[in-house]
């Protein structure tokens, strides 16, 4: 991505270069079309040259068992019964949601380690990452992972390198059923409207788009059959950046500086208005007198 296309930059209080207009992109994951084949996981591995360890089955189809520094996307499997005796096997492709208001970026202390491009992609620049893990606390979706080898944070980049040259992300390219689509965010929302209508026609009355406003909307969106109950898919109902993180990375910063500066300045002005607190002449002379007396004795 050209440097001009940055909209927000971690630990940076001044505007980043960003005069060019760039349409918001979005990846739409239609869970009702996903067959859980994990081709997206392989495409992600291949494009990004990642190979996680060959682990062990832990009693689930979900492998590797969790996201990590070498697994940026993961199919999560949920066996649920939204109504009694109506089993559904919901399979959700998990990964970075690319929030419009990214908590990771807000939490990051290292200038430029996390950037939000003007097309909406939130990307980690590992060469600027200091490995503090604050991005993890900032994320309402529990996505970033710190590598145990280099102690840098990693997550889905939405293939910013591919998107920059006009390609779709690798997972989108590989998805055999078209469950993952990619385009401008308005186009994806339009497309989702069609999909939602189809699902509602099939009896999923609460089908809807998952584009949570609490984080300003996301650039990875889901079509959910049961959008009224995102927790069935392991998604938060109304994700926001944690108020603790907002406090810590928001008002706390200027207030803290103000308080510290105030204390320092108070001291300074105290000194120049009141002068030093020296030992009084009287006591000093008295002590000197005592000293002489003692010497004489």
């Amino acid at each position: 991505m050209a440097s001009l296309d940055i909209q927000a930059r971690s630990a940076t209080t001044t505007p980043s270069p960003g005069v060019r207009d760039y349409p918001d992109v979005a990846k739409l994951i239609d869970i009702s079309k996903c067959i859980g084949c994990k081709a997206c996981q392989v495409a992600c591995m291949e494009w990004n040259d990642l190979r996680d360890v060959v682990g062990e089955n832990t009693g689930s189809y979900q492998n590797p068992p969790d996201l990590d520094a070498k697994s940026w996307t993961l199919m999560r499997f949920y066996e649920v019964e939204p109504e009694p005796n109506r089993l559904e096997w919901l399979i959700r492709k998990d990964g970075c949601m690319h929030c419009a208001d990214p908590g990771c970026l807000a939490a990051c202390p290292s200038p430029g380690a996390i950037v939000k491009y003007s097309n909406g992609i939130v990307d980690f620049n590992q060469e600027h990452c200091i490995g503090c893990g604050y991005c993890i606390t900032g994320c309402p979706f529990d996505i970033p992972r710190i590598s145990q080898t280099d102690h840098k944070a990693y997550k889905c980049s939405l293939c910013s390198d591919r998107v920059a040259v006009g390609l779709e992300p690798a997972c989108v390219k590989t998805c055999p059923t078209g469950a993952i689509t990619f385009g401008s965010k308005p186009d994806m929302i339009d497309y989702a409207v069609d999909r939602v209508r189809d699902l509602q026609g099939r009896g999923f009355k609460n089908a809807a788009l998952y584009d949570p406003p609490g984080v300003g909307g996301t650039h990875v969106m889901y079509v959910l059959q049961h959008a009224d109950r995102p927790e069935l898919y392991g998604l938060p109902q109304d994700p926001t950046i944690s108020p603790l993180v907002e406090l810590w990375k928001g008002v706390a910063k200027p207030v803290a500086i103000g308080v510290m500066a105030a204390v320092g300045l108070t001291a300074l002005f105290h000194y120049i208005t009141r002068g030093p607190n020296a030992v009084s002449k009287e006591i000093e002379e008295d002590e000197e007198r005592k000293a002489k007396e003692e010497q004489q004795v």
Partner: protein, 206 residues
């Protein structure tokens, strides 16, 4: 070495070394902590060999400070127990700030303000140590929510502590003849008589 044989010993060498280990590690922690707290201070990371080294060193410095703070705490604990007179002193702190402390109630080794500072610093450390451990994700794996709380508590406690240390340092500068007690351990009798009359009485009686 006493400049004047009549000078009074206020701090032993051991106490001074302990104080300065805590002091230096506090300064390094404060600077590195601020660097990671606010972008304005991020350039401080260069003092530590770069941002990543800052992230690596800060918690180890924290361990150093914590250990020596605990030593110091127990060394000075007895002299810092709050008495009624200390509260009286604190009640009249305005006079002290005005610079006219000769009319203030006579004080022992530490005045009420110093004692209060001691306890507030201890409280800050009590918050900073566990919250720091929660945030030390290279070695510890706590829940994200716990780390969020820890981040808020750690930074709040740190800011309070920095302010307290400002007061501490300023007081030492303001009250002339004080700093030498942490350099070479002694104060003049006049200094002691003026600022800590009871302590003066106590140590000169013998």
């Amino acid at each position: 070495m006493k400049r004047d044989p009549r000078d009074l010993v206020r701090y032993t060498a051991g106490e001074r070394i302990n104080h300065w280990i805590v002091g230096i590690s506090f300064i390094l922690l404060g600077v590195s902590g601020l660097a990671l707290f606010h972008p304005a201070f991020f350039p401080f990371t260069m003092l530590f060999g770069g941002p990543t080294w800052t992230r690596i060193l800060h918690p180890f410095l924290g361990v150093l400070m914590a250990v020596f703070f605990v030593f110091m705490f127990f060394r000075f604990l007895k002299n810092n127990l709050m008495r009624r007179i200390d509260w009286q002193w604190i009640g009249r702190i305005g006079e002290m700030v005005d610079g006219s402390d000769e009319t203030m109630p006579a004080q022992g080794k530490y005045n009420g303000g110093q004692k209060l500072l001691f306890w507030l610093l201890a409280l800050c450390m009590l918050l900073l140590i566990p919250s720091g451990i929660l945030l030390w994700q290279v070695y510890f794996d706590f829940s994200v929510e716990a780390r969020r709380w820890a981040a808020v508590i750690h930074s709040a406690a740190a800011v309070v502590m920095i302010c307290l240390i400002f007061v501490h340092v300023y007081a030492a500068i303001w009250v002339k003849g004080t700093i030498r007690s942490m350099w070479y351990g002694t104060v003049t009798r006049a200094w002691a008589r003026q600022h800590h009359r009871n302590w003066y009485e106590e140590v000169t009686k013998s």
